[in-house]
């Protein structure tokens, strides 16, 4: 199967040239349709920065080299104007904390539809119908009513479901999920992960799942990459990495994981 999104030799440096700090060092990853690529590592290892680089969301002070290809299109160095037609449209993102990533003063309906109307040139009514369908799909209760409510009127788990619906609204090929369950209760996490799993199968999505939580990783990822100090130290299928880790750091991580066996049950 060919890759939907290919990251090749990606390096990211912050600060002045020469004396800058390299936070991502020659990272290569392929995302495939219908599969979840996990990217694990402790905080500060460069996982989130890698995901942000795909959408060109890093500050101007970041120097990014290498290649990020979406199909035949090179995303690195693409002018912002062009990138905007990719963001949300072909590559979408879900953030860590839905209570921060949803605007508190804007209704759920309007946040779910503004980019849909912009990208797909849908009428207000059509966009609204689409939003209701999506909310129903991610199992937010009373979707019709939910549209006119504000994010604080939902629970954390429902908010993340709304954020996922928002990301999928334009039917993207790639979903970047940055610690999508970290801010949630453990009991709610499982529901979100199940949903993610189902959506990937349904929509043939290619997902990059960034997390520091190997429990989450073992529950949903098909392929895994372990990152440390900006470098990928080991890649492989989930089974391989969990059963037979080669790199000492991967082994270290697995040993540090509480009740590794149980969380696989998820």
């Amino acid at each position: 199967m060919s890759a939907v999104l290919s990251i090749t030799d990606l390096s990211i440096e912050f600060g002045p040239k020469g004396s800058g700090r390299t936070v991502v060092d020659s990272v290569s990853l392929d995302l495939t349709a219908g599969r979840i690529q996990g990217l694990a590592g402790e905080s500060g290892s460069g996982k989130t920065v890698t995901a942000m680089a795909v959408l060109g969301l890093l500050p101007d002070s970041a120097k990014v080299t290498g290649s990020i290809r979406l199909g035949d299109t090179e995303l690195l160095g693409m002018p912002t104007r062009q990138l905007r037609s990719i963001r949300g449209m072909r590559v979408a993102m879900v953030f860590q904390d839905p209570s921060a990533s949803l605007h508190p003063q804007i209704t759920v309906g309007s946040q779910l539809t503004d980019h849909v109307r912009h990208h797909l040139k849908l009428k207000r009514r059509e966009a609204k119908e689409r939003a209701v369908e999506l909310l129903a799909r991610v199992r937010v209760p009373n979707p019709e009513e939910a549209l006119s409510r504000y994010p604080h009127q939902f629970s954390g788990g429902q908010r993340q479901r709304i954020a996922i619906a928002m990301a999928l609204a334009c039917d993207p090929e790639v979903l970047l999920a940055d610690e999508p369950t970290t801010a949630l209760d453990v009991t709610v996490q499982a529901g979100i992960l199940h949903l993610l799993r189902d959506l990937v199968a349904e929509r043939d999505l290619a997902v990059l799942l960034v997390t520091h939580d190997l429990g989450v990783m073992s529950a949903v990822a098909d392929d895994m990459a372990v990152m440390r100090h900006g470098r990928i130290v080991e890649t492989g299928t989930r089974e391989k990495l969990f059963r037979d880790p080669e790199h000492p750091y991967t082994r270290e991580l697995l040993e540090a994981m509480p009740d590794a066996q149980e969380s696989e049950v998820l």
Partner: protein
């Protein structure tokens, strides 16, 4: 949607907002009573005898005359009684009679207040418009040249004394260049518009008199310019900070990740997110405008509250001074009330408290 949830929703919507408004209204009334006490006591303990000030040199010597005057203005009665009389007449819309002009204070304030409101509101609108643009540009270009320039400009705006700027502006734009009129609200050749709001711009517009409108606008130009400079400086710095904070928030990143164009992010997400602190600051700025207007009115011969307060104070015209104090108090309480109510409009989370 089931009918049950519909009903539940209209219940929360229906009761939460009025209760919030009711609470704020009650607070405002209490504050207003406090304002009356403060203005009353301040004028009661002020050094100087208003009767002596009102009477001439000869009459002051005559004790019978002084006593008659004291009785006429109720100055011979005990303080609590005087306050009670003051409060009762206040409720009836009677602010007393000016000792200086022998006209009802309310009538005089009704003329002076709109003149000041007009300058202050025009300045707030102008300042906000300019500061929103400058503050947002500065935040977007934080640390770079446009930001540096805007920060220096706003610092200048904050540092220049308003009275000095008023004098310079008066000399330069009115006396030297003659670009704009420098005194009064209207050219002597024109008649004021039929009074509806007391704001000349609005009243001329209602009347459909465009000659008068342009003349009134021209007279507003210099005082508004002078008053706005400080407010622009104040608001620009503040908006820059607020916008900068919102810019680094997750929901702006999320809006960018959705591929929304820049102007939509600024209008829909950014400024809405920064609107609450800006609103608070706007209320404070409006208050500072009202105090700044005293000196500006003096220089531009603007017949507003500042001029009135000044004349009342130097003549120890106590009813007039109390009237001004009360009006300013009411305006401050009113601004706070409006800001609070706007909060509940702008931030859905406030409504449920």
């Amino acid at each position: 949607m089931t009918t049950a949830t519909k009903a539940a929703r209209s219940r929360t919507r229906g009761s939460a907002l009025p209760r919030y408004i009711l609470q704020r209204l009650i607070t405002s009334v209490l504050l207003l009573i406090g304002v009356t006490i403060v203005t009353f006591i301040l004028t009661a303990i002020v050094p100087g005898d208003p009767i002596a000030a009102a009477l001439g040199e000869g009459a002051r010597e005559n004790e019978a005359t002084v006593a008659a005057y004291r009785e006429r203005y109720g100055m011979d009665r005990p303080l609590p009684e005087r306050y009670w009389i003051y409060l009762v007449s206040l409720v009836q819309g009677d602010l007393g009679t000016s000792i200086r002009t022998s006209r009802p204070v309310l009538e005089e304030l009704a003329v002076a207040l709109p003149a000041t409101i007009e300058v202050a509101v025009a300045s707030v609108i102008l300042s906000l418009a300019v500061a929103l643009v400058l503050g947002t540009i500065a935040a977007y270009r934080a640390g770079r040249l446009p930001d540096q320039v805007i920060r220096v400009l706003s610092l200048i705006g904050l540092s220049v004394p308003t009275f000095w700027l008023a004098i310079i502006t008066y000399r330069f734009f009115f006396m030297e260049l003659g670009w704009a009129p420098g005194s009064g609200r209207l050219s002597p050749t024109l008649n004021p518009p039929p009074q509806v709001t007391g704001l000349y711009l609005v009243d001329f517009a209602i009347d459909g008199d465009h000659v008068g409108f342009i003349d009134a606008a021209a007279h507003l130009a210099l005082p508004v310019l002078v008053l706005s400079l400080f407010t622009v400086g104040l608001l620009t710095r503040f908006i820059r900070t607020s916008v900068l904070e919102v810019l680094s928030s997750d929901y702006i990143r999320a809006a960018r990740a959705k591929g929304l164009p820049g102007r939509r992010i600024i209008g829909g997400y950014l400024l809405r997110g920064a609107s609450l602190p800006i609103l608070t600051m706007l209320g404070i700025a409006f208050g500072s405008l009202l105090s700044g207007t005293v000196l500006v009115e003096a220089i531009f011969a603007w017949p507003g509250l500042g001029t009135y307060a000044y004349n009342a104070a130097i003549n120890l015209d106590l009813p007039a001074v109390m009237g001004v104090g009360l009006v300013v108090g009411v305006i401050y309480v009113g601004i706070n009330l409006v800001v609070d109510l706007m909060y509940s409009v702008l931030d859905p989370r406030v409504r449920l408290r």
